[in-house]
């Protein structure tokens, strides 16, 4: 099964195709190169988003104006949110790891529509450029928050339209990626790989793909409606013309809630691959995890109103959305149980990917529990629009998806680049990141419940200690990120050569050389076992 490692295979990075030099990247249709195009662009924007976050934390170190005025602060949290949500967290895991590994893990040579795949990246870049332009052109960077609530987004004199167009184009990129992946899984699985022999990371991308395809268009049309409101005074959301601002919130969250499942499902998929490999035993409850992913995607459609409990929606609505919010937590809890049970009794190898995955469980659970506080209407009234919400979503998105992203980076790095990174630096980076992360966000739960509002540039002196701890945490986190990125970037070039299977994994990507060749497989594999088959002695199916 292993291709020979004596250098007779040509890595995809060295493959000589139709184009040379930079064009071999900009005009590639190789899913692996497209994945790297996304990786590099996303890492750059991630650091821009991180710097914006740090600037906000410096501002909040003391009450009153510290390094920027209130208007600038409003612009900061807006673009920080737009970058992090639309340019980083929604696209990253599908576009980077999905693109690279989905075809390989199902035994295919590429995705169903390779040219469409490249087009998705160009849409991503164009959307990101519009986001950047919104900061520098014309009337000033948008100050509406990434949520673009009306009436302010219809009235603000800043460059809201550029930001709306950016989000629209980025949404299109997301839709096309989801479409590509769904069709790929339907049509291109290797012989012998029935649906229930497909590994769980691809399954998570399948569930994610349906959300991308069915939810994103609604925010697309909603953003167009806001543009129509600004330019044509169309009136849908303007009470003076008979419209309803809360209708915007409904439309916006009908997408943006399922969007958080676009963010987290692939992350869950990644850690679901890591736990079996570093426990050297099959994943516990393959079927349960599979159906939980689909259940999260489906039920996640019907909970959007929990962002609107204080907006003036009906009592019946609040009851309905709160009830379903509690239901949607159940499949996630099932997964946590299954991940831990996967490790139980296994031969644990605590390499950096597993450490990140364990951190993921811890942080994701804190995020999840605090979500229940917000999902219950009575407690939400206290916590809504406070720093508590900010802490909650950073635990879930950054602690959850972000740490899953780092876990995936450390897991698949040897396969992608053919090099090994330094484990000591990886551990150091992960621990510094973990400490910094908790110091940054945990105090925000506390001051939030004490009354510190979110998106506020100024605050009462009683919140200062919490803010100062948080800011210090932010800098520690930043140092950890630098260590992690330095380790990976340096060793991508200078690291020791990686074997095809450094972690003794059993899914298809570990059966091919590191890095893979242009067409992934010398011969299309014939699948004979379930995906987490570690040999007869480990029992289980």
């Amino acid at each position: 099964m292993n291709a020979s490692e004596n250098g007779s295979h040509v890595s995809f990075l060295e493959h000589k195709g139709k184009y040379k030099g930079i064009l071999s990247w900009l005009l590639t249709t190789d899913h692996k190169k497209i994945a790297l195009l996304y990786l590099y662009s996303i890492m750059i924007f991630f650091f821009v988003g991180v710097i914006l976050g740090l600037l906000m934390r410096i501002e909040l170190f003391k009450p009153g104006e510290t390094i920027m005025d209130a208007q600038t602060y409003n612009g900061m949290f807006t673009i920080h949110g737009i970058i992090m949500i639309f340019i980083i967290v929604i696209p990253a895991l599908p576009a980077i790891f999905g693109n690279f590994f989905l075809p390989i893990m199902i035994g295919a040579k590429d995705v169903a529509f390779p040219k469409l795949n490249l087009f998705s990246w160009y849409l991503f870049i164009i959307g990101a450029i519009f986001g950047v332009l919104s900061q520098f052109i014309g009337e000033g960077s948008p100050d509406t928050g990434w949520t673009f609530y009306v009436p302010y987004s219809a009235e603000s004199s800043t460059n809201v339209i550029y930001a709306l167009v950016a989000a629209f184009i980025l949404g299109f990129s997301s839709i096309l990626t989801g479409l590509n992946f769904i069709v790929t899984m339907h049509r291109m699985r290797a012989p012998g790989m029935g649906w229930f022999r497909m590994p769980l990371f691809p399954w998570s991308l399948y569930a994610t793909g349906w959300i991308q395809v069915l939810a994103t268009p609604i925010v697309g049309i909603t953003l167009l409606m806001v543009i129509a409101e600004r330019v044509l005074k169309i009136g849908f959301f303007d009470p003076a013309l008979g419209g309803d601002p809360v209708l915007f919130q409904h439309l916006f969250w009908i997408y943006s809630h399922p969007a958080v499942y676009i963010m987290i499902l692939p992350g869950m998929g990644i850690v679901t691959e890591i736990f079996p490999t570093f426990s050297q035993k099959p994943v516990f409850g393959y079927t349960a995890i599979l159906f939980s992913s689909l259940a999260i995607a489906f039920v996640g459609y019907f909970v959007w109103g929990h962002h609107m409990f204080t907006a003036g929606i009906s009592y019946g609505s609040r009851w309905f959305f709160s009830f379903l919010t509690f239901i949607v937590a159940v499949p996630s809890a099932i997964k946590v149980f299954n991940w831990i049970s996967t490790m139980y009794g296994g031969s644990i190898d605590l390499k950096p990917p597993l450490l990140y995955a364990i951190f993921f469980i811890f942080l994701f659970m804190i995020g999840g529990f605090t979500g229940l506080t917000l999902g219950s209407v009575a407690t939400d009234v206290q916590a809504h629009d406070t720093a508590f919400v900010v802490a909650h979503f950073h635990y879930i998105i950054f602690g959850g998806m972000g740490f899953a992203f780092f876990a995936g980076l450390h897991y698949w790095f040897p396969k992608i680049f053919g090099k090994m990174y330094n484990n000591t630096l990886a551990y150091a980076g992960s621990i510094v990141i973990f400490i910094g992360f908790n110091l940054l966000y945990f105090p925000q739960f506390i001051i939030g419940l004490q009354g510190m509002p979110r998106r506020y540039f100024d605050y009462l002196p009683q919140f200062q200690t919490g803010h100062q701890l948080s800011t210090i945490g932010g800098f520690i986190l930043f140092i950890g990120l630098i260590i992690m990125v330095y380790n990976l970037v340096y060793h991508a070039k200078k690291g020791a050569p990686a074997p095809s299977n450094p972690w003794k994994g059993v899914t298809l990507e570990w059966q091919i050389p590191s890095p893979p060749s242009h067409e992934n497989f010398e011969e299309i594999p014939q699948i004979k076992n379930h995906p987490y088959f570690f040999g007869e002695s480990t029992g289980n199916k």
Partner: protein, 214 residues
């Protein structure tokens, strides 16, 4: 170059980048794209539903400004064009190139008539200063203002899709002529046909909701 592998259960088909995309794969891709279009328009239908419920009398009154005859005529144009494009696929399957070209051309012609009607409808309204943001609209009852906002946005977005559909069909005419689309490989025509039917479907919902609530 490896030969693509198909197994009898059609569970997996290996396609290589520079091979043609096989028809089932391409069709599935287009269906999923159509779902996204349904949800794109769906957002507007949701807004319509909310405001129709709130301002039913105003909507009823405003709809009387619309010309039911033209709306019905446009509906007929699109329904017939759906038939002609469906027939063109039968024609290409039967290797009747001439008939296929004629039917696709007829579809484009009917689409053009639809657009012409739309142009007359809209310019007639503009003459009476009925458009979003106008003084006339501001003086109308709120429900009527919203009705016209929805009318323009929904028919406008729909018209854009009619244009895109026309372009797709014109490309098919070129491809049928030069043999790229043939009885052996007509995915492009089939997918363009599906897209065209979607354009028709949306109009089938728009027509009664905008024109027939009098």
């Amino acid at each position: 170059m490896k030969v693509p592998v198909t197994n009898s259960k059609n569970m997996s088909v290996q396609a290589i980048h520079n091979e043609r995309i096989d028809s089932e794969t391409g069709k599935l891709g287009m269906w999923i794209f159509l779902f996204t279009e349904l949800f794109l328009f769906g957002g507007l239908f949701l807004v319509y539903a909310v405001f129709r419920a709130k301002y039913s009398a105003d909507f009823h009154h405003a709809a009387e400004e619309l010309n039911t005859f033209i709306g019905t005529l446009n509906t007929v144009f699109l329904l017939v064009s759906s038939m002609t494009v469906a027939m063109s696929i039968t024609a290409i399957q039967k290797d009747d190139k001439k008939l296929a070209l004629f039917l696709v051309g007829l579809t484009v012609l009917l689409a053009g008539l639809f657009m012409m009607n739309k142009y007359f409808e809209w310019s007639h309204k503009f003459e009476f200063k009925i458009y979003p943001g106008s003084e006339v609209l501001k003086n109308l009852p709120q429900g009527e203002l919203l009705f016209f906002g929805l009318y323009y946005m929904m028919t406008g977005l729909h018209a854009l899709h009619v244009l895109i559909g026309m372009i797709l069909l014109l490309i098919n005419i070129v491809k049928i002529k030069n043999g790229t689309v043939s009885s052996n490989h007509y995915l492009h025509l089939e997918n363009s046909g599906l897209y065209w039917h979607l354009v028709d479907l949306i109009w089938i919902f728009l027509f009664p909701l905008l024109y027939l609530i009098t």
